[in-house]
């Protein structure tokens, strides 16, 4: 099994979610993150003092998938998340030893 992690722009989340659902992925977990990279942050000014916020808000998405689906799922996310502008994010895959569904104790592919 694989864990696909994607760092995406928050506004693309809805599209990614829908694309994954359409593909047949049944579940996912997201969290808030802040990214640093080519895309620059922004400046704020308070009483004449300027602050630069270097990090940009991102969404971190995790999907566990069967080995066979891994590259397809990456492709699905890639398409849905792409805007073509700097800061679109990254996707990566990590090998997973085992997955368990807490409710039932099922393991492996059954747990997805």
């Amino acid at each position: 099994m694989k864990l696909i992690t994607a760092i995406i722009k928050p506004h693309q989340l809805d599209e990614v979610k829908e694309a994954l659902e359409a593909f047949g992925v049944a579940g996912m977990t997201i969290s808030e993150a802040s990214g640093y990279g080519r895309q620059r942050g922004h400046s704020e000014v308070y009483r004449g003092a300027e602050y630069t916020v270097d990090f940009v808000p991102k969404v971190r998405l995790e999907v566990l998938v069967d080995d066979v689906d891994a590259s397809d799922v990456i492709e699905v996310i890639l398409k849905a998340a792409q805007t073509g502008r700097i800061g679109d994010g990254k996707i990566w895959a990590v090998p997973v030893d085992d997955v368990v569904r807490v409710r039932t104790g099922e393991r492996g592919a059954d747990a997805l």
Binding site: K9, H11, S34, Y36, Q39, R40, G41, H42, S43, E44, V45, Y46, G48, A49, E50, Y51, T52, V53, D54, F55, V56, T83, R85, I86, G87
Partner: protein, 481 residues
């Protein structure tokens, strides 16, 4: 115990009790605009709360300044003809106002009534300016999340001058109070449309609420819908702010309505009670609609009901009985709870329901006077004349007068505001870019974010350049969408 000599030929004098109440009331109404800023600010998304609040604050700044310069004079200066507008130059800079006394009633030997004191001219100036401010601020709710701040700033000045001051002159400038001749709605309306009596609008159902509501609709049409309207979740980002705002509005509204008596007597006290009663039933009405329609009574509903009730009782508070006030409130609560859905049906993005609450609420209150006006009202029990309404056997004449007042302000406001909005939109641009809107007007227009609540303070990964920037701040947000 107060004691003084009395001579029949006494010069006009100030009644300290009336003045105390009017000054306190003016402060209360001033407080309503920050309250409105919170009420509105809590309803938008996190990314635009500051801009929302700023639209109210800047209205305080511009309208207050303009009022001192020409606004007071344009509203309450001697009528420039036809009851349509006051002369803006007579009292420019408030010249010749501070040493005046308004509302003094001389003794009447025939009836044996004593003289009663007036209020200083400046107290009247104070009380009226805060009305002008909030009328302008109210409009901003229709264009949440997407307005250019500079254009809005210009709009506040233009709209106050071309729409509010004239409308306030029509409704609030009673002949013989501040100037000899005043506005056409306040004084016998000469039957322009339907003939008959002058309209009752005690504290501004027409000049403030119908006016702001119609203007809000016009601006919402000029600016167009927010990106994601009807599709994206745009739920209130902070309902505790909405509740604080509603609380402040309610509090301040006693100044608004009871202060409009311009004195502290029987009428003011009765108005106070009516203002409370209507607000209570409006809240209940809105919540009952929600409970039955949606399954839950919400806090946003309670706050909205409060405001709807206050809006509706504003014109009516002096001419209906306490029971009448309960009815006005209930009608407004139920009516507005449904009216806020209109924008989805007709597809105009009046973001924070200026139409659904202020226009509709103002209409309900203004028109119900035609049915519910009675001598058992604060005005009647204070010994003043009341032209009774349809339900009290007074016939339909007052109802026609009410319709005339309400509709004329509504049409005037909508048309002129639409034109002002359009001109500004074509020249300065009234709407931010799609990218700025998506990213949030706070950052785009004010270079600020409202909250930074991370446990250790200071957004992680931010750095400061505390030397005041000599050059324009450059936003480096290139592709941050």
């Amino acid at each position: 115990m107060s004691a003084t000599t009395f001579t029949a030929a006494d010069a006009p004098f100030v009644d300290t009790g009336n003045t105390a109440w009017v000054l306190a009331a003016a402060a209360l109404v001033l407080f309503m605009t920050p309250g409105l800023a919170l009420f509105y600010g809590g309803m938008v998304r996190t990314k635009s709360v500051l801009n929302m609040m700023m639209m109210s604050f800047i209205a305080m700044g511009t309208v207050g300044t303009v009022w001192v310069l020409w606004g007071y004079s344009e509203t309450f200066g001697p009528d420039a003809g036809g009851g349509l507008v006051g002369n803006p130059f007579t009292h420019f800079g408030l010249s010749g106002v501070l040493d005046q006394i308004y509302g003094y009633v001389p003794a009447n030997a025939a009836t044996g009534t004593a003289a009663s004191g007036g209020i200083p001219g400046a107290a009247f100036v104070a009380f009226q300016v805060v009305f002008a401010i909030i009328a302008v601020a109210l409009v901003s709710g229709a264009i949440a999340d997407r307005a250019k701040f500079t254009t809005w700033t210009v709009f506040t000045v233009v709209w106050a001058t071309l729409v509010y001051f004239p409308a306030a002159h029509w409704v609030f400038a009673f002949s013989g109070y501040a100037a000899e001749t005043g506005g056409w709605i306040a004084n016998k309306a000469q039957g322009l449309l339907f003939g008959g009596a002058g309209a009752y609008d005690f504290a501004g159902g027409t000049a403030i609420h119908i006016n702001a509501g119609a203007a809000g609709l016009a601006l919402a049409l000029v600016l167009g819908k927010r990106i994601g309207f009807k599709k994206d979740p745009m739920r209130p980002h902070n309902l505790t702010l909405v509740m604080i705002g509603a609380g402040i509005l309610w509090f301040g509204w006693f100044g608004f309505n009871a202060g409009s008596a311009l004195g502290a007597g029987t009428q003011a006290a009765g108005v106070w009670v009516n203002t409370l009663g209507a607000t209570c039933t409006a809240m209940l009405g809105w919540l009952v609609v929600e409970k039955f329609r949606d399954g839950h009574a919400t806090s946003l509903g309670a706050a909205s009901g409060v405001v709807a009730g206050l809006v509706a009782i504003t014109p009516a508070c002096a001419t209906v009985s306490p029971i009448g006030a309960l009815i006005v409130g209930l009608a407004a609560g139920v009516g507005c709870a449904y009216a806020v859905g209109l924008k989805f049906r007709f597809g105009f993005d009046d973001s924070l329901d200026v139409v659904g609450v202020h226009l509709v609420g103002g209409l309900i209150g203004t028109i119900l006077i035609g049915f519910l006006a009675t001598k058992g009202s604060p005005t009647g029990t204070a010994g003043l004349a009341v032209n009774e309404g349809l339900f009290y056997g007074g016939g339909a004449s007052q109802l026609w007068a009410q319709l005339e007042g309400a509709l004329s302000v509504m049409v005037f406001s909508f048309v002129v505001t639409y034109l002002i909005g359009l001109v500004l939109h074509k020249t300065m641009g009234f709407r931010v870019s799609a990218e700025d809107e998506t990213q949030g007007v706070d950052l785009a227009q004010h270079a600020e974010t409202a909250y930074d609540l991370m446990p250790l303070g200071g957004r992680i990964g931010a750095s400061a350049h505390t030397t005041p920037s000599a050059t324009k701040a450059t936003e480096t947000t290139g592709a941050n969408a």
